[in-house]
């Protein structure tokens, strides 16, 4: 990528490229300011006459499937991360494409994982031109070192759905890993030796891609139920020995943090929900599978029991800890976008109150509402937060890509967005003057909970009023920042970043929130 990149300043004053991978971009205009026009994208009309009446869409291998899909240079190949770090299918498909001799593909994963670092070699060989999707570990370094030919595009789970739906990204061939499937292409994630729970991340691709391949290691006679992916959208079915490494798909047990400092953060979050009255009968919350979030669920559970409070629904990433809430009658439903451990997978398979959700139902901003905004409180992490409550989840303070956005941006629309973060990590303060990469605008972030105290966004006067008279350590964010800088021996230096954007961060509406700059 040697052409000059035109930059514009968006509504938050961040310099962002106006063209990304040959497509014009709209800089972020402000939350709720962009009005989309036009109609949704749609795949070509299919006809049953082109598919076998027997329903049997099996082909011998991925290479055959890709050939039959008409794989050509420059196509967009998508894959999904419901098998997480255990996934074998994405690389299997890309390597099959390499064997066919395809070049300059755009790989469009819903997220990439360290075990997929083989994609670097495929980029070096010219098979993959660039990646649009979260990149971390070795792939993130490859991108931020400026080695990727195209620009990385980071989208939230909802933003990915929106981009496909709105036609910003046209998927030529979707390859969907299925823990269980039938020959017709109906697919399910909650059964089989590689069971992972929900296949929601693949929903958009299955409905909008030109061609859809289902790859399974557990072929069952028709019908495969439940059909999280409908075979009516599927072109070919490929049976393989193994779609992934079960040990890395879900963890046998998810671990609560044992760090006393992090437990303190988790407890403060729960106490905050109790003190503000957010924790009341019929409420809802979402918490991820990080150590602090899991501990938070345990503290909240205890308080719910003490106060006789029951939730109407909780949102996963589900784990054994959410499943226990369901089984103990402390919530009516789990609406689950992603399943992190074996208890979660089992529960989804066996309990009708544990429901697989998708980025369409939960997160898509260009829809007629979504579930994320209905949630009363969400507990999230961040790598950095600034004094204006803006937050970063994608880069380290040194500018290296570290995480994907996941559902993080989408969750900020909940009634109360809480970032539960240690005030410093390894001497590196988490609260800074200005975030390295803007991932969430401060107006969407309500509360920062650290081990040294709780900072409430001054915009949320209702929350400030609600905690008056409580014993919670409520402090101005600048106070916590100053204390930590004193402990750490002064403000950290700002690492020098390059002047070339190597990736962009999209907001939930497809506008460009920020750029990730090449690290020197």
């Amino acid at each position: 990528m040697s052409e000059r990149v035109e930059l514009a300043h968006n509504a938050l004053g961040r310099a962002v490229p106006t063209m990304v991978n040959g497509k014009p971009q709209i800089p972020f205009l402000g939350v709720g300011k962009f009005q989309p026009r036009g109609r949704k994208a749609a795949p070509a009309i299919s006809s049953n006459k082109d598919y076998p009446d027997t329903g049997d869409k099996r082909v011998p291998d991925l290479e055959t499937a890709l050939r039959k899909c008409g794989l050509r240079d420059g196509m967009v190949i998508s894959s999904h991360h419901h098998l997480r770090d255990g996934d074998k299918v994405a690389l299997m498909a890309l390597e099959a494409a390499a064997k066919i001799g395809a070049k300059n593909l755009m790989w469009f994963p819903s997220a990439s994982f360290p075990s997929q670092k083989g994609a670097i070699e495929l980029m070096e060989k010219g098979v993959i031109h660039h990646i649009e999707g979260s990149m971390n570990g070795p792939l993130g370094d490859y991108c931020t070192q400026g080695k990727m030919r195209g620009m990385g595009v980071l989208r939230s789970h909802g933003g990915r759905y929106q981009a496909i739906q709105d036609g910003e990204v046209h998927v030529d061939i979707a390859v969907i890993a299925a823990p269980t499937a039938d020959f017709f292409g109906n697919a399910d994630g909650s059964h089989g030796k590689s069971a992972c729970g929900s296949l929601g991340f693949a929903l958009a691709d299955s409905t909008y891609a030109d061609r859809v391949i289902v790859v399974t290691d557990n072929l069952v006679p028709f019908p495969c139920v439940p059909w999280q992916i409908q075979g009516n959208n599927v072109d070919y079915v490929v049976e393989v020995e193994s779609i992934g490494d079960p040990a890395k798909i879900v963890s046998g047990t998810t671990q609560i943090t044992r760090s006393p400092d992090r437990l303190r953060i988790a407890e403060l979050v729960a106490l905050f929900l109790r003190s503000t009255g957010i924790m009341k009968n019929g409420f809802s919350f979402q918490a991820g599978a990080g150590g602090i979030a899991l501990a938070f669920v345990q503290y909240l559970k205890k308080m719910m029991k003490e106060d006789g409070v029951k939730a109407r629904f909780v949102r996963g990433g589900s784990t054994k800890f959410l499943v226990e809430l369901l089984q103990e009658g402390l919530t009516d439903y789990i609406l689950d976008g992603q399943t992190f451990d074996l208890d979660g997978v089992k529960s989804m398979a066996n309990d009708p109150r544990h429901i697989a959700s998708s980025p369409f139902t939960s997160y898509n901003y260009h829809g007629k509402g979504n579930f994320a905004s209905l949630v009363d409180a969400v507990v999230l992490g961040a790598t950095e937060v600034d004094v204006n409550f803006n937050a970063n989840v994608v880069t380290h303070s040194d500018g290296r890509l570290l995480h994907g956005i996941g559902g993080w941006q989408n969750c900020l629309f909940s009634g109360c967005s809480i970032l539960a973060v240690p005030s410093f990590r390894d001497r590196i303060p988490v609260i800074v003057d200005e975030v390295t990469t803007m991932t969430g605008p401060g107006e969407m972030i309500d509360v920062i909970v650290t081990e040294r105290g709780i900072a409430i966004n001054p915009r949320r006067t209702d929350l400030l009023d609600a905690v008056k008279g409580s014993k919670l350590p409520i402090r101005p964010i600048q106070d916590i920042k100053a204390e930590v800088e004193k402990i750490c021996g002064g403000k950290p230096s700002r690492p020098k970043l390059g002047d070339r954007p190597c990736a962009v961060v999209k907001w939930v509406d497809g506008t460009v929130l920020d750029a990730v700059w090449q690290v020197s």
Partner: protein
């Protein structure tokens, strides 16, 4: 010394590696000339690389080192740790033995009172800097920077310097700042390094004779005098043997500065040659003896630690039994134990209500000039009044009543 000899003077201190947090490893090599040469690797280099280089130079200058090669492997250590590790490495090289580099002084909290609440004291290994900065967030009544059993014998010198810097630079909030020194005579070297930084209390391990206390007390007052420290440094002897228990009263009264007496059950049961059990029947006598000796001497009796950090129910029962015996607190080896211990040592609501009624009756009698305090039809004996007054005062200090 010739430069050839000097170049062989080298020393190392601290820790580094993937699993290490908040520490730094220093390899120090004295040189005959050529000034200061520093090489730095740090996981926080983009943020604090310059600051670490500057501090390293400043510390070396402060120690009077002019020519040296220093290799720094930093794992996110805070400045007070970096200073301590450099100083230790230099000393181990046999350089700058009498010089000190002290980190910026955090305002010293108000002196602690002899009778203050000492329900919980959190042990922090003196060689593990990562535990220091956030210790007070868990709100124990005291922290103990430990130089004794949690520190390997090869690390005693390093821990001493680190603890000295910690007392000076780390904010422990409302916690009493205690240091457990080593057994004498090594403990005297500890005192020489740390008393100048005004710890609130010194724990002396394995005390068997009153003379051990007087020796420590004498050394503390010498240093206080020399350094112009007027605030008190209290003493808490730990009795950890049958002989120590036998001499409990003499030990408790060995100095005016003894504020509390405590017992170490691991060593005590080993001395008896019996197993330490969850019920603690084997140490019932010794613990009662400590309580009695402490009360006779007018100091606090403080219990040992509860070793199973996963068993909170067991801890609660132990603590409640301990309070019932007359102890006023115990040690903790994990922050998770603090809250349970505070719960155990909290008077029950019924006790508080009763005590408040007695105190009210006492005050009424006082105001009427009556010598006899009565509650309803019952006459209240003076010791009962005294106990009620003390209970109400403690409950207030614990925040159980306002």
């Amino acid at each position: 010394m010739s430069s050839a000899v000097e170049s062989t003077q080298s020393g190392q201190a601290g820790h580094w590696g993937k699993e290490v947090r908040s520490d730094v490893h220093i390899a120090f090599e004295a040189q005959g000339g050529g000034g200061i040469e520093i090489s730095l690797e740090s996981r926080v280099a983009p943020y604090y690389g310059t600051a670490i280089m500057e501090q390293t130079r400043e510390v070396l200058a402060g120690l009077g080192v002019k020519h040296a090669r220093v290799v720094v492997h930093d794992e996110g250590a805070l400045p007070f740790t970096i200073g301590a590790r450099i100083e230790t490495a230099a000393r181990r090289a046999g350089i700058a033995l009498s010089n000190r580099w002290l980190p910026e002084q955090h305002p010293i909290p108000a002196p602690s009172l002899k009778e203050r609440l000492r329900r919980s004291r959190l042990y922090l290994p003196g060689s593990e800097p990562k535990y220091f900065v956030n210790a007070s967030l868990h709100a124990p009544d005291a922290v103990i920077l430990d130089l004794e059993d949690s520190v390997h014998r090869d690390e005693k010198d390093a821990a001493r310097v680190l603890v000295r810097n910690t007392l000076r630079a780390v904010d422990f909030g409302g916690c009493e700042r205690m240091v457990r020194i080593n057994q004498l005579p090594l403990g005297l070297e500890d005192l020489a390094e740390i008393v100048g930084e005004s710890p609130d209390l010194i724990l002396i391990p394995k005390v068997e004779q009153a003379e051990q206390v007087t020796e420590v007390d004498r050394m503390i007052s010498e240093i206080r005098k020399r350094s112009g420290i007027t605030r008190p440094v209290w003493i808490m002897p730990i009795l950890e043997s049958a002989l120590g228990i036998e001499n409990a009263f003499g030990i408790a009264t060995a100095s005016e500065n003894v504020a509390a007496l405590t017992i170490g059950l691991e060593d005590y049961t080993a001395d008896l040659g019996v197993a330490k059990t969850a019920e603690g029947r084997e140490s019932q006598y010794a613990r009662s003896r400590v309580v009695n000796a402490a009360r006779a001497a007018g100091v606090q009796a403080i219990d040992s630690v509860y070793g199973d950090v996963g068993d909170m129910d067991g801890l609660l029962h132990w603590g409640q039994a301990s309070r019932a015996m007359g102890f006023e607190g115990m040690g903790c080896i994990h922050p998770g134990q603090i809250r349970v211990i505070h719960e155990a040592f909290r008077p029950t609501d019924a006790e508080i209500t009763k005590a408040q009624r007695i105190v009210a009756a006492f005050e009424e009698a006082q105001s009427k000039g009556l010598a006899v305090v009565s509650l309803g039809s019952k006459m209240i004996d003076p010791p009962v009044v005294q106990r009620a007054l003390k209970l109400v005062e403690r409950a207030k200090a614990m925040g159980a009543i306002s």
